[in-house]
């Protein structure tokens, strides 16, 4: 039994490491952003949409980027939903177990394997002229283009987990409904989706998390203007992309502000994950 207690101890230590890692990350971020929060106050920084790096009028605020992040991520989530849901249903319900499902699953999962820089290059060279031709805006870059690419990037995250959970719905539940005369869509609507509900929400949260943190592809496509986007056709910046853009040259107060933005992103991700957990808890008690 000594082996067991040692093993359990190692397991516990490993889990503890996650705690330590996260605490370490928070500490590293906080300690490097105190300069900014001392200068502007927490809410002063969060609510300020101004970003002025000129030495005479230096002023930094995170609000434009918070909005940029929320716009792109939620719009990407919205865009991906019909597709990922369709694929999830395709694989987890309609063609479950069939060869074509395996093919579709593989192809969609491959989307997750494409590196973000390739997405950025493809978006830059191929999608951007399309966006210009569609008349969305004059230069192609912007919220729309980056959200579209983000949506494509997160489809597999949402679909593969959702389809797993859908396929795990017990057959006897479904068969019961069929024997009562339900059509397949009715079974899906009233049995499968509710049963797999919490898992499906979890997969969308995973997808949203991926979207929130995406750096490279968004940086290359969002237009990089440091102000609140006035709409889908406008350019903007997300928290991740402003850090990626300006980190190379930043120093002093600007560097501290960028790290403060990193900290804020961490906090926003934490809040969204918390909300997701609450939703799932509620759904599983239904």
């Amino acid at each position: 039994m000594n082996k067991d207690s040692l093993f359990r101890f190692l397991l516990f230590t490993a889990a503890l490491l996650v705690l330590l890692f996260t605490a370490g990350i928070i500490y590293a971020l906080v300690s490097r952003s105190t300069e900014t929060f001392q200068e502007y106050g927490v809410w002063g920084f969060v609510g300020n949409a101004e970003w002025d790096p000129r030495s005479a009028t230096e002023e930094y605020g995170a609000f434009s980027f918070i909005l940029g992040t929320l716009y792109t991520s939620f719009f990407a989530l919205l865009l991906c939903m019909p597709f990922s849901l369709a694929v999830a249903l395709f694989n987890g319900e309609y063609y479950k177990g069939k060869k074509i499902s395996s093919a579709v699953r593989s192809i969609v999962d491959l989307l997750a394997g494409i590196p973000s820089i390739v997405y950025g290059l493809w978006g830059f060279y191929t999608l951007r002229p399309l966006v210009i031709a569609l008349g969305v805006n004059a230069q192609g870059f912007g919220i729309f283009l980056s959200s579209v690419v983000l949506a494509i990037m997160i489809i597999p995250y949402a679909s593969s987990l959702s389809s797993e959970f859908l396929s795990m719905v017990p057959n006897n539940l479904k068969e019961g409904a069929y024997s009562l005369g339900a059509t397949q869509i009715e079974v899906v609507q009233h049995i499968s989706l509710p049963s797999a509900g919490s898992g499906i929400v979890a997969s969308y949260i995973l997808a949203l998390g991926r979207a929130l943190g995406e750096t490279m592809a968004v940086t290359m496509l969002i237009g990089n203007t440091n102000r609140i986007p006035r709409g889908l056709s406008d350019t903007g910046n997300t928290m991740a992309s402003v850090i990626a853009n300006q980190f190379g040259e930043a120093d002093g107060l600007k560097l501290s502000s960028l790290i403060a933005i990193g900290l804020l992103l961490f906090i926003i991700t934490a809040i969204i994950n918390l909300i997701a957990k609450l939703i799932m808890k509620k759904l599983s008690h239904v």
Partner: protein, 381 residues
């Protein structure tokens, strides 16, 4: 499973032991020099460091183009041997470095105004006009002030789309610095810096971003590093220099901009240079090293190798490369002052590359195992 884990742990330890001994080659068998910084001179450094490695089989030079600020930070953190920047350190930055830093100029370049206008095959601009375009005060190509400057071409009735860099960059620094010199209004509203708060125009990331937008947008104009624009053969505007001549960015005109009295520490911008052949937005780019190389666990060999690298870059072979890829080699005066600066680099007081008295031929020392003696020539041929 357990055995597998044990095996991997053991092999990791073995690998790391093997690595630890060849960290920063004290015995001189394998030497690694790392640097980080500006993206503007990256293609040049890429070639010149490669050539250096070819000549010195046991040396490895790594360079990461992470941006001037990143280079300065890395040097301050002592995580690299040298930094690279297109903007010299200001007083505050110098103070933050903890020790004196030497600016070793390596080559020159320019910032060009690339544009896309059908049927306009040559364009003339002045500093104040550029400032007003980027301030949003000149909105159309057929604005009377632009037309007055360009009597030989027909400028269309088309909106100007100015393009600027979204990422902080030394190119932006030099571009804006030039505009602060030629336009008082720019100076008070925008100032100079690696990143600014732009009034008008579109943001783009990096040289490829700006070039990409300019090439695809009729009526666009953007500022790009000369090497990049010239390699891609983008149409660029002639700028009116202080002497009144309209000049293109060429090797000759960029070099001519350095025909001014340069400070001894080589911390100078040469925009709006007075030389009649000068290209107005020219710049130096520097490698930054600590004057006293005896810090952390740096050895004499480390310092010597670094100095050898620096001297190779400013040697005729190194400078020739610059010319071949659309950068401009350093002028004689700049070279001379840079040699003097390199002559100040020392390890624990010992000068590594003494600046020879006038009349001596300067050669690049290729030997890597010369022992230090008290001889004034220090082993040079």
């Amino acid at each position: 499973m357990r055995q597998l884990l044990l095996f991997t742990i053991l092999s990791t330890l073995l690998i790391s032991c093997g690595n630890a001994s060849s960290g920063s080659g004290e015995s001189g068998t394998a030497m690694t020099i790392s640097g980080a910084g500006a993206t503007f001179p990256y293609p040049y450094y890429n070639i010149v460091f490669r050539d250096y490695m070819r000549l010195h089989g046991n040396a490895t030079v790594n360079y990461g183009a992470i941006g001037s600020g990143g280079g300065i930070r890395s040097l301050r953190d002592r995580s690299v041997d040298f930094g690279a920047s297109d903007a010299f350190l200001n007083q505050k930055e110098i103070g933050s470095m903890g020790a004196e830093v030497i600016h070793v100029a390596t080559c020159m370049g320019g910032v060009v105004m690339a544009y896309t206008l059908n049927e306009v095959d040559s364009l003339r601009l002045t500093g104040p006009l550029i400032a007003d375009i980027y301030l949003g005060k000149i909105k159309k190509w057929n604005d009377p002030r632009l037309v007055a400057e360009n009597s030989t071409v027909k400028l269309p009735n088309l909106e100007i789309t100015p393009v600027y860099r979204s990422d902080g960059s030394g190119t932006t620094f030099n571009f804006s610095e030039y505009l602060t010199v030629v336009s008082p209004e720019w100076k008070s509203i925008m100032g100079k810096g690696k990143a600014l708060k732009w009034e008008a125009g579109i943001a783009a990331k990096g040289n490829p971003g700006v070039a990409g937008i300019v090439q695809q947008t009729e009526g666009a104009i953007g500022y790009i590093g000369s090497e990049y624009a010239l390699t891609l053969k983008l149409p660029t505007a002639k700028l009116k220099n202080r002497a009144g001549f309209y000049v293109d960015a060429t090797l000759a005109s960029i070099s001519a901009a350095a025909n001014v009295k340069l400070p001894d520490d080589m911390r100078a911008t040469i925009t709006d240079s007075g030389d009649p052949a000068a290209y107005p937005i020219s710049l130096f780019t520097w490698l930054l090293v600590y004057r006293d190389q005896h810090y952390d666990d740096r050895t004499l060999s480390d310092a010597r190798e670094l100095v050898n690298l620096l001297r190779y870059v400013i040697s005729p072979e190194g400078q020739k490369v610059a010319a071949q890829i659309n950068y401009a080699p350093l002028s004689e005066q700049a070279l001379d002052k840079t040699r003097q600066l390199i002559g100040e680099i020392n390890w624990n007081g010992e000068i590594l590359a003494p600046y020879p008295p006038p009349g001596n031929h300067i050669a690049v020392a290729v030997s890597d195992s010369v022992h230090v003696t008290a001889s004034p020539n220090n082993g040079q041929q």
